[in-house]
């Protein structure tokens, strides 16, 4: 193996390690006692040092060496983690990254001053006396059980009429927390009856509560003194199992055992489920015995304790994945072609023929779904990486900001994640720069000094929603409008709705920053955000309230590659309307058509008037039928807005493999892309969100 290839491998490997390292370091700041994480970070640095040395990159190896030493000290608990150390490690990570980049781009700048500074700082930490035994003990104490502590498992099978006595189960837990550390609470939902048998005033809960306390068992029993008559209460000491704070027995146990022990399900439920020979958690959650979250939680804990000894995953070159995806896409097209033939040639006697094709159809759909899943990755890592951004920027601007992350397990197409990271970064920067106020200002407004930015992701109706929410100053409508008029983006006479005014911050050349900062306020950024999102066939909305904050809501398709669509025909042209945009098909009666001044043609659909969009005039083509009462009207919707599309003919539902118009041709307003139909014809995929905007103009 030549030196060249060795360096290639090193660069590739270190890029991966550095990426993980950043996430791990940020995580470590929040969980400074996570020994496992410290070990992982140490190993990452160690690998970097080793590989760099092996490749002959002594500069890098020497530099990493210091960081490794510091981590070693942290690992031995002789150095305590604090803000400075994390900052230093993060900065050294950046230096290593720059050094690695410099290997192939000699012009790439590595801040030598910084290298010296960091190395010096590391030396300082290394020579610092073995620090702060007291603090270390405290950490240990919090995590581990002290001599006097006992752990109890309390199982409460609450009586159906508990509420009638006026007892609140939450009150019991609160009372426990007066003198106990409540370690965990699990709820067994299996007693909840079907809805028609359910007494809304009844209590169907079985709680299993784990508490740690130095108080007596008697004290614990006293909590339940009034409910012990009619409710089943078991209190059992389980201190032995919790020697190191974590339940040591988890590692060897089966998921089912743990679920029973935690009181989330009964043993019978497990036995019943086992008969089906499937994964226990899945079955139980399907039956409504436990919630999916509960299973995930215990499985997650179990995995953590098991220490992921064997990872059953392999790395696949993204290129291979792309190829797989392409072949899949071609298969979908061929399938559409076969489908046309099947329905063309089959007659009623040959139903077997159709059944067999349906089978193939189903298999292909399954296969496609599986392949799509391979491309799906959780958005968590991308989110967590922003913690660094928030951490560094808020410090620089003297602001105090907490970043909260929700729905990090939400999965998105890998391509989308890669392309959404940048726009998200800009939005978060925008929230930090313009949204969150300085701590003093916030206090004057009666808010918490610490501002909050929440990043969340979730699935909704075949789309992914990502939200960036801040609790800052909110957008100032008048200020934005003044600015936009000054910059000549809008005219003074324009009558704009609030929504449209907020959207102006996405206009090219717009920036309301009082001071131009390093990161935002250059007037680029937010306009790039919108165009990037639109390129992903997504939309971005803003809602804001003065002094309460701003919410950016991004809506993205699950995948860019394939959509479910309805093929339609206007004149000689074929179009695809995405299925999730279709509301209904109608054939309006003559009396339901009207022309309204300022709005143009409208169709009355069940007491609502909806604008009529003639696709033939929109795209300047010849239609077969221009009379809406004879043609077909498709009601489409997006984000609560509707329009009626006038089309000649409906060809049928099909999956469309999206080919980007921009890559192959040029951007056309109102088109999301093109696809090939089963008969070999090309069809344009309509971008409903843009068409509605065009229609309402």
């Amino acid at each position: 193996m030549g030196e060249e290839t060795l360096i290639n491998i090193f660069v590739e490997e270190s890029e991966e390690i550095l990426e993980e390292l950043e996430i791990d370091l940020i995580q470590l700041e929040g969980n400074p006692q996570d020994d496992e994480l410290i070990n992982k970070i140490f190993r990452s640095m160690h690998t970097l040092k080793g590989s760099a040395g092996l490749t002959g990159l002594t500069d890098i190896a020497d530099f990493v060496h210091h960081a490794e030493d510091v981590l070693d000290k942290i690992r031995n608990h002789s150095l305590q983690i604090n803000y400075e150390i994390i900052s230093l490690l993060l900065e050294s990570r950046d230096i290593i990254e720059a050094m690695v980049k410099q290997i192939f781009n000699p012009e790439y700048h590595v801040d030598q001053q910084k290298v010296i500074e960091i190395s010096t700082a590391f030396k300082f930490f290394l020579e610092a006396p073995v620090s702060n035994q007291g603090a270390k003990d405290f950490v240990e104490e919090k995590q581990k059980l002290s001599e006097e502590d006992s752990v109890y498992r309390i199982k409460l099978k609450l009586n159906n009429n508990l509420f009638e006595t006026g007892t609140d189960p939450l009150g019991l837990i609160k009372e426990l927390s007066d003198f106990c550390d409540v370690l965990d609470i699990n709820v067994n939902l299996s007693r909840i009856p079907e809805i028609y048998e359910l007494n809304p005033e009844g209590c169907y809960l079985t709680l299993t509560i784990f508490v740690k306390t130095s108080d007596s068992l008697k004290r614990l029993q006293d909590v339940f003194i009034f409910i012990e008559f009619y409710n089943e209460i078991e209190i059992e000491e389980v201190t032995e199992d919790f020697k190191d704070g974590l339940d040591q027995t988890l590692a060897e146990k089966l998921t089912g055992e743990i679920l029973v022990e935690r009181g989330i399900v009964e043993e019978e439920d497990i036995e019943e489920a086992l008969e089906e020979q499937n994964r226990i958690g899945e079955i139980l959650s399907k039956r409504g015995k436990v919630s999916k979250k509960q299973v995930e939680k215990v499985v997650g804990e179990q995995t953590k304790v098991r220490n992921i000894k064997e990872k059953s995953s392999i790395k696949v070159d993204t290129y291979k994945l792309e190829q797989l995806m392409n072949s899949m896409a071609e298969l979908v097209i061929s399938q559409a072609k076969v489908r046309d033939l099947v329905f063309q040639f089959h007659n009623n006697k040959e139903t077997e023929f159709v059944t067999a094709f349906d089978e193939v159809d189903k298999r292909i759909k399954d296969l496609q779904e599986e392949i799509m899943k391979v491309r799906m990755v959780p958005i968590g890592d991308t989110f967590i990486r922003f913690k660094r951004l928030v951490r560094d920027l808020s410090k620089k601007q003297g602001k105090e900001i907490a970043l909260e992350i929700k729905g990090k397990e939400t999965e998105l197409d890998k391509n989308i994640i890669e392309q959404i990271a940048d726009p998200l970064k800009h939005m978060i920067r925008n929230s930090i720069d313009h949204g969150i106020e300085l701590p003093e200002e916030r206090e004057q407004e009666g808010k918490n000094r610490v501002g909050k930015i929440t990043l969340s992701a979730y699935h909704k109706e075949g789309s992914i929603i990502i939200k960036v929410v801040d609790d800052g100053a909110g957008l100032d409508k008048d200020k934005i409008l003044r600015k936009a008029i000054d910059k000549g983006i809008v005219n003074r006479e324009d009558k704009l709705k609030d929504e449209d005014i907020y959207q102006l911050i996405f206009a090219p050349g717009f920036s309301t920053a009082q001071v131009v900062t390093e990161t935002s306020g250059r007037g680029v950024g937010m306009d790039v955000v919108r165009s990037n999102i639109e390129r992903l066939r997504g939309t971005v909305n803003i809602s804001t309230a003065l002094n309460q904050g701003t919410t950016f809501k991004i809506k993205l398709p699950l995948t860019l590659a394939i959509i479910d669509g309805m093929a339609i025909k206007v004149g000689e042209e074929n179009f695809i309307i995405p299925m999730n945009a279709i509301y209904e098909f109608i054939q309006p009666a003559p009396e339901h058509l009207k022309t309204v001044k300022g709005k143009g043609e409208v169709v009355k659909v069940r007491d609502n008037y909806i604008t009529l969009t003639r696709l033939h005039s929109l795209f300047n083509i010849e239609a077969k039928e221009t009379d809406p009462t004879k043609a077909i009207v498709v009601v489409v919707h997006d984000e609560g807005k509707k329009t009626c599309l006038l089309v000649d003919e409906i060809l049928g539902q099909q999956q469309a493999v999206v080919k980007s118009l921009e890559d192959n041709y040029t951007y056309v307003e109102g088109m999301a892309g093109a696809t090939i139909l089963g008969n070999g014809n090309v069809a344009m995929i309509l971008d409903i969100s843009t068409i509605i905007k065009m229609a309402l103009r």
């Binding site: 009638e164 006026g166 009372e175 009034f226």
Partner: protein, 126 residues
């Protein structure tokens, strides 16, 4: 807003000492002299914002005893979820069970200390 507690007892000494102890803890206390009076006081305080968060009642009282009072409370749609604490004496151990059957949430054995009273009340009204 202070949390409201209804105290029903025919003894003025008990009423005023319980009232004193509870008010010192920041609760608002309304008083009734027997079960019937208790039901009337509840009617006066039946809107959702006025309702007491807890009821403490003696057992042996003229006009209407505490057990009947408790079961009447539990029959009333507005108050069925309000916890009732009955005050018993050492000699009335059976009363605990009777109270439970009538729907009481708990009991307190007389004589009790202010700390014991507060401890039990806090089980129900935090």
């Amino acid at each position: 807003m202070a949390k409201k507690i209804l105290v029903v007892d025919d003894s003025r000494t008990v009423r005023s000492s319980v009232k004193y102890t509870l008010e010192k803890e920041g609760y608002e206390v309304i008083l009734a002299e027997d079960g019937r009076d208790g039901l009337e006081k509840l009617e006066d305080n039946s809107s959702i914002t006025d309702r007491p968060k807890m009821i403490i009642t003696d057992v042996n009282m003229p006009n209407m005893d505490g057990i009947t009072f408790t079961s009447e409370v539990k029959k009333n749609r507005n108050f069925k979820f309000v916890p009732v604490l009955i005050l018993t004496t050492e000699s009335q151990d059976k009363m605990k069970l009777k109270g439970k059957e009538a729907g009481a949430a708990g009991w307190l054995v007389k004589p009790f200390s202010p700390e014991q009273l507060i401890g039990v009340v806090k089980k129900f009204v935090r």
